[in-house]
Amino acid sequence: MTRTVLCFGDSNTHGQIPGRGPLERYRREQRWGGVLEGLLGPGWQIIEEGLSGRTTVHDDPIEGSLKNGRTYLRPCLQSHTPLDLIIIMLGTNDLKRRFNMPPSEVAMGIGCLVHDIRELSPGPAGHDPEIMIVAPPPMLDDLREWESIFSGAQEKSRKLALEFEIMADSLEAHFFDAGTVCQCSPADGFHIDEAAHRQLGEALAQEVLAIGWADA
């Protein structure tokens, strides 16, 4: 029996290389999803669904409605069902100046996604899958040329972990704070580099196993 994990995220799940162009992406085995797959080993299938610029629930007025995590999540879940575990790591793009969102509202966006997952019940045999909310690591103060887009986001990004954990407690979901094991790269201040991908993948492998899976 194979267990299937969907990693639903943004550029940091996609594997965007910090400080480089939009087409430059880490190879699968360098990305946290690939690290996770390598560590969990046979019996686990990892599906990466990372889109640069993805928000929790917002149509992006500039980048387009395709960046809205909520509208993409439903067809995505139905495409990949049955899913044993869905890891959601989003929130950074919601902090862009154009959305003007406090950290608590970003957490509300994450909450929406959890509700939507539970409405569809894309787990094995139509059950609810396990859901793990991952708070992205806080942004660094120096965002280079991205400062104007994210202006003011740095402070908010440091509050996401607490707001997400409150949401996870409230909705009874698994939670992990990526900021406890990795940092954003100084190359652009909000993407994670190869070392951070590895640290995150290793930590999440522990978290996934700690959930406690009955033998197949």
Binding site: I166, F175, G212
Partner: protein, 360 residues
């Protein structure tokens, strides 16, 4: 009407809702279920917790996370299983909580401080001026203050309470149990939990000692007299029975020639007793016979596998009694208790933990 799915979440993390160990916060039934399993097992996993409680993995995840943040629970190293994925064991943080146990006995009052897994951190004996008389609640409060002061500042804030093990019927001369209870609570500013001393000793073995993980066992306490308790499914049956048998240390003391100096040694927590010849052998035989009879009479009704004998008398004497039981009843494993330092006081120290962290 707003869509309640999108109502604001509870504005505090679960771990933050309890403001420190000493606020007598009401723990949810589910939290107590999880803590009960952790208190009854050396290590467990979230999978086992789910199987035993029926709680969902995500509910357990939230509870365990809050217990980790409170410092009550720690994660062990992931263990590779023979089949299936590795598992991460969970266990109590031994430094997560402390408890004070007090037992008022026939000759002595014992005071212990134990950590969350029952390791004795501090132990004191207050001999009574006269046997069967306890008249020093102020001195007791002072001893408890000193015992607590022996812990570091940060550990002092993690004291779950004081357990008080008192005999039934009450000792002849001493303050009323309720009065003592209220006095200590006011004097110490800590919750005080009172229980019959023998029941407390059985609870101590069940939580910290030889009977940890045992659902069912027959418990004997050998003190001035011999007392028994039956534990079924971790619950102590017949909690306050005053019935006891006159085959204890008091009987041995009577059997010694009048004025024998060894009589004093019987009560003094000695690692071994001096040779006493025939009276000791006869007493040991009588005591073993009582133990065997009591066990056999219960075996008619219940399939018991374990007898735990707890006592302050020297370990070799207890071991010899256990051997005699095993010889007479081979189907039963008789073992010496592990709280022998002060069985009733250690048992008393288990009370704050069971009252505050476990399901009834």
């Amino acid at each position: 009407m707003p869509d309640m799915r999108f109502a604001p979440p509870n504005p505090l993390r679960i771990a933050d809702r309890a403001s420190g160990l000493n606020s007598l916060s009401v723990r949810s039934h589910n939290e107590r279920l999880v803590l009960s399993l952790l208190l009854q097992n050396e290590a467990t996993t979230r999978l086992e917790i789910g199987e035993k409680t029926g709680l969902s993995a995500q509910t357990i995840s939230v509870i365990v996370r809050s217990l980790e943040q409170e410092g009550l629970v720690v994660r062990g190293e992931a263990q590779k299983g023979r089949v299936g994925p590795p598992t991460t064991p969970l266990m109590l943080n031994s430094e997560g909580a402390y408890s004070v146990g007090v037992s008022v006995g026939y000759r002595n009052t014992h005071i212990v401080v134990v950590d969350f897994i029952g390791n004795v951190q501090h132990q004191r004996v207050m001999p009574h001026k006269t046997a069967d008389t306890f008249d020093a609640p102020e001195a007791l409060a002072l001893e408890i203050h000193q015992a607590i002061a022996g812990l570091s500042q940060s550990r002092q804030t993690r004291i779950a309470g004081v357990g008080l093990a008192l005999p039934t019927p009450p000792i002849r001369s001493g303050p009323d149990h309720d009065v003592l209870h209220r006095y200590l609570e006011a004097e110490l500013g800590l919750p005080v939990f009172v229980q019959n001393d023998i029941t407390a000793a059985a609870g101590g073995e069940s939580l910290f000692g030889a009977a940890r993980q045992l659902q069912d066992f027959l418990f004997f306490y050998l003190g001035a007299r011999l007392h028994g308790r039956l534990v079924l499914n971790h619950q102590i049956y017949n909690g306050n029975s005053p019935l006891s048998y006159d085959v204890g240390v008091l009987a041995l003391e009577r059997a010694l020639p009048a004025g024998d100096a060894t009589a004093e040694k019987l009560w003094g927590q000695e690692p071994s007793w001096p040779p006493m010849g025939a009276p000791l052998a006869a007493w040991q035989q009588a005591c073993a016979e009582s133990l065997v009879q009591l066990t056999q009479s219960l075996l008619q009704f219940i399939e018991l596998k374990t007898v735990v004998l707890s006592s302050f008398v020297p370990a070799d004497i207890c071991a010899a009694l256990c051997t005699l039981i095993r010889r007479e009843i081979p189907s039963v494993n008789a073992v010496v208790g592990r709280t022998s330092a002060a069985p009733k006081a250690v048992g008393a120290a288990s009370l704050p933990f069971s009252s505050r962290f476990m399901v009834n």
